[in-house]
């Protein structure tokens, strides 16, 4: 028998988790935008719009202290951040394009160096994903190999049903533990009828073919054509579920301050600026090329994964209308 949870009980689940002192994060109205934010009650949850920023910030915050320093009696005292205080967190209401991204990012954050800030948050988190019931013409998750009902990355996966409740599937042990701990809220249904999805118009892309073209076209006029209009801001990277570059800055006074890790973007002109003054990516074309290469070639080379979930945020937000889905489609159509 398939398991279900009613809309009311889903909100009750949030209330219960909050009572258990867990941090529950989900799409919430914040000012004029919807963002993934801590929910104070089940009623805070908004499932009708894709949050403006992706869910990556749960594991990879916009900015975090990695150590603090203080000078006392001429001696410098350096204090590490106590990561054991990171809270147990449940992320609720992430569509597949967001739920899939932490699983993709795990590879890079545990590769040549274990980023314990990221990894500790991942260990303490449970992701409740939800099948998507609507897309717009910026969405292209199906083009990069995901689908409206992709469970990858979710611990527990919900499917909106026609009667307003949700079908539940525990994908991992963490998901099963969440259901078992609150079994009274979950019921069983004789059959389930999933809500309809408005199909996206985007074509399916041949990612292997695209990667193959990228391998042979590091120097191609296409890059100039595309990136000539790029203004070099970081909005595409910052709101992307998969972009993960960061900078580290010491901020404060000579007496006390913090070392902070915060988001950075390859579109910025100073991103690869060397101390010598040399900048290997000295023009925007080279920077934009790197963005595409990183997502569809380098990451695949190293980790066997595509660094894009097709959420469409960059397409919607680009100040100058650069459309990554259109670019991929152009490359996909190339013969050589």
């Amino acid at each position: 028998m398939p398991q279900i949870i009613t809309e009311e009980n889903l909100r009750n689940l949030i209330d219960l988790l909050v009572k258990e002192s867990k941090v529950v994060v989900g799409p919430k109205e914040t000012g004029s935008v919807v963002l993934y934010q801590p929910l104070t009650a089940g009623s805070d949850l908004r499932l009708d719009s894709l949050p403006r920023r992706s869910a990556k910030e749960l594991f990879f915050p916009i900015c975090e202290n990695i150590l603090t320093y203080q000078r006392q009696d001429g001696k410098m005292q350096v204090t590490d951040v106590d990561r054991s205080h990171f809270p147990e967190t449940v992320l609720i209401g992430a569509p597949p394009c967001d739920a899939a991204s932490p699983a993709i990012l795990d590879a890079v954050f545990s590769w040549d160096y274990n980023d314990e800030f990221y990894l500790e948050r991942r260990r303490k988190s449970t992701i409740v994903g939800i099948a998507c019931t609507k897309g717009d013409d910026a969405c292209f998750c199906t083009a990069v190999g995901l689908a409206r009902d992709t469970e990858a990355g979710s611990d527990l996966f919900l499917t909106p049903l026609k009667d307003g409740s949700y079908g539940c599937k525990a994908v991992t042990e963490k998901g099963k533990a969440l259901v078992d701990a609150h079994a009274a809220l979950f019921g069983e249904a004789a059959s389930v009828d999933a809500a309809l999805f408005v199909e996206q118009g985007t074509e399916k892309l041949d990612l292997a073919k695209i990667k193959n073209w990228l391998e042979g076209h590091f120097e191609d006029p296409l890059w100039e054509k595309i990136a000539d209009i790029c203004v070099g801001c970081g909005s595409c990277a910052f709101i992307c579920p998969a972009c993960h570059c960061f900078d580290i800055n010491d901020e404060g006074s000579t007496e006390q301050g913090s070392r902070r890790k915060h988001w950075d973007a390859c579109g910025f002109s100073k991103f690869t600026n060397h101390a010598s003054g040399h900048n290997p990516r000295d023009v925007q074309n080279k920077r934009y090329r790197n963005r595409i290469m990183h997502k569809f070639k380098y990451y695949d080379d190293k980790f066997g994964k595509t660094l894009c979930t097709g959420c469409g945020r960059c397409v919607r937000a680009c100040p100058v209308g650069i459309d990554i889905a259109e670019i991929l489609s152009t490359i996909n159509a190339k013969q050589d």
């Binding site: 900015c63 203004v231 801001c233 970081g234 709101i239 901020e251």
Partner: protein, 314 residues
């Protein structure tokens, strides 16, 4: 196309108006490229998605045939003429499609010796309004989906261009939402005004889109990118965010042409143009000065005069 036919009050601008403007732009662009009047031209091409457009650098008459003007042509293209985009455009005289609001930026950039009038061929658009951020991109522009800046546009009949596409649009009688919002905020007690901005700045992710899209942010070395010494915290935290937005507003005081591109591109919906407007109001009251109407070599904040008001020094 007479004024009455294009009256926007409460109703909408017909798509046929934008089609006529598109045709005029194409004809003119093809001609100046064929004649060699310009080496290249910055205009708009349609985007893949319904109701979208994007900037384009055009160098051939064939490409110019594809240019469009529609309510989706929101960008202020003058950003492509500044130092930050140097080397992108071919050397020589450059054509540019500019709405009235964009022409204020061109005037400002001329005043600041960033571009020369004789190096430009301005194809101005008698603009009937563009879509607001996040608005429904339907066929027609209405009071419901028009950009806030268009609701109180005073420059939709552009002057001083080499060519004007379209004529006599009438945008009068619209509700000036932004002016109303500014009045509302100005009337708030200081603590509430502070809370308003604090909440907005807390969402800032320092993507710098506001800076990168601004025609007047052409500095090759931005104060906010310096870390030795660090004047403004570069990490996205409340203190640095607030400092950045104050620095931005102050640097634009007396210069900002009011295109509101900073606000349009903000992925976090921070109402940045309210800051710009506040600064513009200040300049108007103190110096009876408005930025960008005509090229001016020096503005009130970039010159010193013996009789400057010094009463604020205490």
């Amino acid at each position: 196309m007479n004024a009455k036919a294009n009256k926007n009050q409460g109703s909408c601008i017909e798509p046929s108006y934008y089609q006529a403007v598109t045709k005029a732009i194409r004809t003119q662009a093809v001609q100046i490229l064929k004649e060699g009047t310009v080496a290249g031209l910055v205009g708009y091409l349609p985007g893949r998605r319904k109701g979208t457009a994007r900037p384009a650098l055009i160098t051939t008459p064939e490409e110019a045939e594809k240019l469009i003007f529609s309510p989706a042509c929101v960008n202020n293209l003058s950003v492509y003429l500044t130092k930050s985009k140097k080397g992108v455009l071919k050397q020589g005289r450059i054509g540019i499609v500019a709405k009235g609001c964009d022409m204020r930026a061109l005037a400002g950039l001329m005043g600041e010796s960033q571009i020369k009038r004789e190096d430009l061929f301005i194809i101005a658009v008698d603009c009937a309004g563009v879509y607001g951020s996040g608005a429904e991109r339907s066929e027609t522009v209405t009071e419901a989906n028009i950009a806030r800046k268009c609701l109180e546009c005073s420059v939709h009949h552009p002057e001083g261009a080499d060519f004007v596409a379209g004529s006599a649009t009438d945008l009068s009688g619209l509700t000036p939402l932004e002016a109303e919002e500014m009045a509302r905020i100005e009337a708030l007690p200081q603590a509430e005004r502070w809370a308003f901005w604090k909440e907005h700045f807390s969402r800032c992710i320092r993507c710098m889109a506001c800076r990168q899209v601004c025609p007047f942010c052409y500095c090759e070395q931005c104060l906010c990118d310096k870390n030795r010494p660090q004047a403004v915290e570069s990490s996205p935290r409340p203190a640095g965010n607030t400092a950045w937005h104050i620095v931005r507003a102050m640097h634009l005081a007396g210069r900002c042409g009011g295109c509101a591109e900073c606000e349009r591109v903000c992925p976090m919906d921070i109402p940045l143009n309210l800051l710009n407007r506040r600064m513009a109001k200040e300049l108007k009251e103190l110096y009876d000065y408005e930025a960008g109407l005509a090229p001016a070599e020096k503005g009130p904040l970039t010159q010193y005069r013996e009789d400057d008001d010094q009463s604020f020094i205490k």
